[in-house]
Subunit: 202 residues, 2 copies
């Protein structure tokens, strides 16, 4: 699979549907036979472009979405507990991820899974750097190195560049996949993505 | 099936996903063994509540949605041609529908299908009363009676009440299904709706 062109997998650490996608991402990768390139983004700056806001704060849609997060997780047999503090800012999580990714993409993926589980299963507020570092340490990472890294200007700029590039690529939600230029938004678009790949585009 | 409690099927005549749902609605009805109660709504007043607007006018999301309309139709093997005039106001279509529905629900469903085909296959602008009436006439309805009806205050108020009731029920998009109080938004939620019904709720 290492020679195949990667499929971009964008997600926001505070996104329930992003979390659900992350839980089925490894199986998806196996089925499509191409690696997923995990790319956390920040929906805050993206919502400024689209003029929208967090789902749960939108009238009518908010109540629906809380019901649908839980239901979508059950539908795909994924554990889910809606966090008490929601949504959260996830810039520290993103910085830790990209700093690690530049050194070891597999390690960054492992950290992302640990952070998602901490937030959406164990109800830990990964919006705070201290929790990000604690989760990283429990997952076997060097918390001191990560703590130093997430305060560094190049790491901050790396995250900003990733978010700008995502907007440039048309990403406006989480999860968001791009396969050979074809965009798919939502965990509910995974079947369509697979059909599209099987048929070699339409 | 006539004795079974109906499943509410809300849709907006200007909505591509509503149209796609209408094309698979009869099959869905057969599979679930319960009648669908077709209920056109107007997204304009609903978007005022949610603070959003037509999909195609939202930055980033707009470009994506135009691609996704066509792709979603192909995914479900439904004919689709994006209308030149889009989106449109559909109050005349709604008034004609509800006036007919109060007399013959089957006839109203037939009119809805004819209107949707006119707009999303034949590129006819059903936003104008003259086209609504022409389509109705071609489908075998009494255009003169419909023309009189859509100008009547009770019919106008009937549509307004329907939209208010939909908002009250939490409807914020098209298509939107409500099964025994459980809401499902989007043509992509149909598989989940069916799983939910099969399992008797979760």
């Amino acid at each position: 699979m290492s020679g195949a062109r990667p499929v971009a997998f964008y997600f926001e650490f505070s996104s329930p549907y992003g979390y659900i996608a992350s839980q089925v991402a490894d199986d998806l990768e196996q089925r499509i036979g191409r690696p997923l390139d995990w790319r956390p983004i920040l929906l805050g700056p993206i919502f400024k472009v689209t003029g929208t806001g967090p789902l749960t704060q939108i009238p009518l849609k908010g109540d629906y979405s809380k019901r649908d997060f839980d239901r979508s997780a059950r539908h795909l047999k994924v554990a889910y507990r809606h966090p008490d503090n929601f949504p959260i800012g996830t810039v520290a999580a993103c910085r830790a991820f990209y700093w690690l990714k530049d050194r070891d993409a597999g390690a960054a993926r492992k950290l992302a899974k640990a952070l998602y589980t901490a937030y959406f299963v164990d109800n830990r507020d990964i919006g705070t750097p201290v929790t990000v570092l604690a989760v990283a340490k429990e997952a076997g990472f060097d918390a001191a190195a990560l703590e130093a890294a997430i305060g560094e200007l190049p790491v901050k700029e790396r995250v900003k560049r990733e978010v700008d590039a995502a907007i440039e690529a048309g990403v406006f939600g989480s999860p968001f996949f791009i396969v050979d230029g074809e965009p798919f938004w939502g965990v509910d678009r995974i079947p369509m993505l697979e059909q599209w790949m099987r048929s070699g585009g339409w």
